[in-house]
Assembly symmetry: C2
Homo-oligomer: 268 residues x 2
């Protein structure tokens, strides 16, 4: 048993969808959350830059005496997880592997689609992970850069969202994909619109949910589960002005975020 907190980081607010699943599935765990809001989005940046930023996030979390790290950002998981595992000794988990495993389990016709930021899709992280589990699967990756600003505008159910989804998902529909990985933490908010465009037969995989499941298994296997059954405590840190994080983050978590501290992440 280990009552120290889990460290979770993301390029900003989106990773709170992963925290929300951890809160629900591991209600006794304390969590330190860091959102790199000064440098969001990671999705358009080079691999080298994303690795540098991710290592700074990890060094900050390590300064808080945590027992494990969850990379709640698809881009950082895609580009920096393997490198981080080589450098840091603490157990580290990303969102890609849990999402890839769930997609392979769900598909019946062996045709999987993955949508995400340009960085996540171009890294081929989901595609490679899925093919490593099952080499004969057909995987198509589509980057959807308009989806994040659509969610941040609150336009999830608008005509613009619908038409944008039609444009981005056309190729997946033509290929008869039966499983679709929502490979960006903002995308579950578009679940209804994406589901409508893809049709009822298509299974949508939410890596946030799967990652919380995998975190539970990782902690159990390493004897790191908290003794507490509920009453987990949460601390929030960001690298830019906390106000936007407080407002949008409160909506995602469905509870008020009372204390948020600002961190000078560039010096770490």
């Amino acid at each position: 048993m280990d009552n120290r907190p889990i460290g979770v980081f993301d390029s900003g607010i989106g990773g709170l969808t992963v925290l929300k699943e951890i809160v629900e599935q591991l209600p006794g765990e304390d969590v330190i959350y860091f959102g790199d809001t000064a440098r969001i989005p990671y999705g358009t940046r080079s691999r080298e830059t994303v690795i540098k930023y991710s290592f700074q996030c990890i060094r900050f979390l390590l300064s808080k005496d945590i027992k494990a790290i969850v990379i709640a950002c698809n881009t950082a998981s895609a580009m920096a997880l393997e490198e981080a595992k080589k450098v840091f000794e603490i157990p580290i988990l990303g969102v890609i592997e849990p999402g890839a495993n769930a997609a392979v389990s769900a598909t019946k016709n062996n045709k999987i689609g993955v949508i995400g930021t340009t960085g996540t899709i171009n890294s081929e992280a989901y595609q490679r992970k899925i093919r490593r589990i099952h080499p004969n699967l057909e995987v198509i990756g589509i980057s959807c850069p308009l989806f994040v600003p659509i969610v941040e505008e609150g336009w999830e159910d608008s005509d613009v969202a619908n038409m944008t989804a039609e444009k981005y998902l056309q190729e997946l529909k033509e290929h008869d994909t039966d499983t679709l990985v929502l490979g960006c933490t903002h995308y579950p908010a578009l679940r209804y619109t994406i589901g409508k465009v893809m049709g009822d037969r298509v299974t949508l995989v939410n890596p946030a949910y799967e990652t919380a499941q995998s975190t539970k298994i990782l902690l159990k296997e390493n004897g790191l589960l908290s003794e507490k059954i509920d009453g987990g405590k949460y601390e929030f840190y960001v690298s830019d002005d906390p106000e936007k994080f407080r407002r949008i983050g409160g909506n995602i978590l469905r509870k008020e975020i009372s204390t948020i501290q600002k961190v000078n992440i560039e010096l770490l």
Copy 2:
């Protein structure tokens, strides 16, 4: 006469629309361009962070022995220009004042619209500047966060662009605005779609064009114009991977960008 280069910076690629106007209107001037591509976009960041980033860009340009600085980013002009003028001795120009002046000259019914990023609009920089020139003008600012990713997708003339523009510009049409400032360097690419939605009677103001005009006047007044009439040389620096900059930037400038150097801006 002064043959040293002009320094131009932007949060990324968009400021090349300002450089393009400088190349056309001041063909003898050499220019050092810095694009802070590792930390784009500035538009969603806090004032404090934008000032810090802008000062780092200015310190980098000053290391290159320049004679004047053009802030080619609307957000940085809105949030950091006044502070920068207090701290640095070199002549510095932003895009807000030239755009505001042109809008006041153009309006006939005294109703001006301004569109831009959330940071530019919330800073009220255009709105305040316009009201300072002419206190009785009605100014409405609308932030349009989807416009930048639409341009970067190359969807300028799509149904999505059209529907998004209809949604964002509805309020300006209802207020019978006769002049619209394109207050983000990416927006001139949407000029056709925005013009179609707003109608023929509305004048679109491009601050990039106006800024190059003002740069010419600033240099002339300070005896800083180059002796050369044409043959200006251009150097490019960025803070992230140069490849995306080379590709998209070449399209904006309509000429190949051969050499781009990467700078570690965070340490300046």
